[in-house]
Symmetry: C2
Subunit: 491 residues, 2 copies
Amino acid sequence: MANPPVLASYPMLSASFLERLTGCLRPEAVLVEPHHVLVYECDGSTAFKSTPDAAVLPRTTEEVAAVVRLCSEEKVPFVARGAGTGLSGGAIPSEGGVVLSLAGMNKFLELDLDNRAALCQTGIVNLEVSRAVAGHGLYFAPDPSSQSACTLGGNIAENSGGPHCFKYGATTAHILGLTVVMPDGEIVHLGGPRDTVGYDLVGLFVGSEGTFGIATEALVRLMPVPETVKTFLAPFRSMEVACEAVSDIVAVGIVPAALEMLDRATIEVVEASVVAAGYPTDAEAVLLIELDGAAHGMERMEREIRAICMRRGATSFTVARDEEERARLWLGRKAAFGAMGRLSTDLYVQDGVVPRSRLPEVLVKVSEIAERHRIRVANVFHAGDGNLHPCIPYDGRDADERERVLEAGREIIELCVAVGGSISGEHGIGTEKSSYMGLLFSEQDLDLMSAIRDVWNPDGLCNPGKLFPTSNGCGEAASLPSVAAMPGAWI
Amino acid sequence: MANPPVLASYPMLSASFLERLTGCLRPEAVLVEPHHVLVYECDGSTAFKSTPDAAVLPRTTEEVAAVVRLCSEEKVPFVARGAGTGLSGGAIPSEGGVVLSLAGMNKFLELDLDNRAALCQTGIVNLEVSRAVAGHGLYFAPDPSSQSACTLGGNIAENSGGPHCFKYGATTAHILGLTVVMPDGEIVHLGGPRDTVGYDLVGLFVGSEGTFGIATEALVRLMPVPETVKTFLAPFRSMEVACEAVSDIVAVGIVPAALEMLDRATIEVVEASVVAAGYPTDAEAVLLIELDGAAHGMERMEREIRAICMRRGATSFTVARDEEERARLWLGRKAAFGAMGRLSTDLYVQDGVVPRSRLPEVLVKVSEIAERHRIRVANVFHAGDGNLHPCIPYDGRDADERERVLEAGREIIELCVAVGGSISGEHGIGTEKSSYMGLLFSEQDLDLMSAIRDVWNPDGLCNPGKLFPTSNGCGEAASLPSVAAMPGAWI
């Protein structure tokens, strides 16, 4: 009994470190009790867990910088966390150390109407940005399903998408400037409203999954609220024809604000939940289409879309008449992930991308994979982008089931890559998919990326264990030929 | 007479190097005669010149890689060049060495209708991309004034803009993937049509001004040709009210495809040239406005824009009735730079950005600067973006005049920064503005950028002397306080 058991993978923090940590911010802003830090062991995906040794609740950029400087000096790993709604384990403290929870840094700092931009602390909830500027007819476009909970900082780290990113682009298209605490504790300001000069460090930072430093303030682009929004719902008797309708709509040159699909399994779950959006339960697929923009041209687009859907065999075509009906049509889509909580204790949401034209066959194969692994899968996805979200409810306490779920997830991703797609559309690589990076990238590509990471984060203390394959990675995935290394492989 | 005079700043290339160089491609594709390489001493801005020791004309990525590998082994500097239409000296061989002219690598390789993308060699002329896909109702959006001559590779290097980038974003928003010859001669493939995973290396490469490697193929995003285009011309009695009209149009939430302004000096030059676009010569400013998109909503926008212009005192409001009239309204804008060739042997086109609301006062101060330095200045600019292009015709053979022009250019840029703007909107930093980088960026920022450059280009042989301030730089500019280093300085 000479040695006490070591609980965390990282040696527990010394008393002197904790004392200095407390000196960086208010004493009540440092959490070290096991039942306090347990909150930070995972994000929205419970499949990946790691407990920090301490969590801190900074309120200012300077407090973040002080904590980071200390961690850098003492060689303690650290990671920033927003609302913890991520789905790839991007904010979990893979090697223990300190979690910086930025949820308290939620201030809307300044509105710049001239440049249609807003300066916010990055702990602000996504939807709060739009709420704060709604009076000026403006909004922040990226709209992840979790937008009423997730924070701007998490959106920046993961380059989050959302239904409306089909038309407006993911988060990277909406970030103009950043205040970043570098991994050595230095504070830098990148970009700005008119900055098109020098290397695009803001664009590089967005989507870097917390491996370059901690963004504490962001200057975000605001867009005018569209004059009109029209929302349609079209149920189909088969997923295949529903996907063909999507391709037809895109092919005629219409750019809907959103093109969302739910399969029969999702419809059933939604309709059996308290939400009950009123989707027809005998449909094999429901397509939710939204147009936004100027009022006039919209009628013609509506006629075109209706004609395409009916020609492809839609069993009906519902047009939301007012904001209330519109909200109801969206209800099922927005509540789908939550409704799946009825099915089991845990939910694994996969995130892969395939060419639009391959959607039907890929969905059939996803069912086959699920059947083979004796798991349920429900599909709700951004059809316009070919961005799949197979949802797999499971019981995390059942180790065998958890293994089967992760294995099915891996097969789904390999399938996406095999048809010319990608290993993630918008949830990021994080902990979950670092071992899949070899499916998309050559060793050369990964070397270049990790050399760039080393410029920002030379000691690797800032969010370690993310993005890059490690020796713990999946050997099979890493040994597959690299798509990116094949000339002309893009097309 | 023991030592022959050394003409270039870089020791002339050895016979063995030249022999190996000839082995990299066809013998006729290697130019070393002084009268042959002289062509490559400058780009569209004749203010900055440096002669290469050799120029090569590769046709394939492999030939580029062979030349670059040789240069890397022999420590010879090299730089890629497209059509040489750049305006910041970005493609000049600052330290001698080898110029790789990619103008012969102009193949349209593959059209991918499913992903609305095209794979092209980067020596293709910008407009040729749109021409090749016009039959499918598609086009490539970035439209620099030089689009009938400039190449895709130059657009990528400089992240080029153009009139329609106000609505559609600069080149970076339209590049999906790249084949890059790294500075050691390795060939890598970055990005792809569905690639949102890992660090955004494509976004980082675009705008890196040739300092990261040589892009030989690009997968570009294509957009549907808008259903309708409407073009309006509004002359004003003062530049101030014309600028106010621009702000009003943007403020009501209309996003025109282009918002271009010409001042009286430009109008006079254009109307005196063979072009004679029919702009009223008694106007102090002419505003060219273009809308594109769906047909129906456009009538209301036209009414709104007309009302704004008339309220702000436009002396007339012309609507182009057909494609021919539309082309005529644009003629003056597109031919403005060329028309200035009438005024003198050389033309210096400055490129700065200011907040839209500061345009009128900045233009007054630009006139004062010109007067003080006894030079002429004509303004033609992207008013929507606040992107100024003061054009200064001069005689490059007159050293004193050249000095005065460059000094006025420097003062204009300092003025832009002083009102919260930027040192370049779309022409890049290149040779011209490397000494101004300290006006925008802190030493920290520049260190971060140069460390990232060193990852790609560790020996600094790939386009040396660009982007970063050197010891030859302008001391005054470098000693000014850094805007980016001031917290909250964005707004």
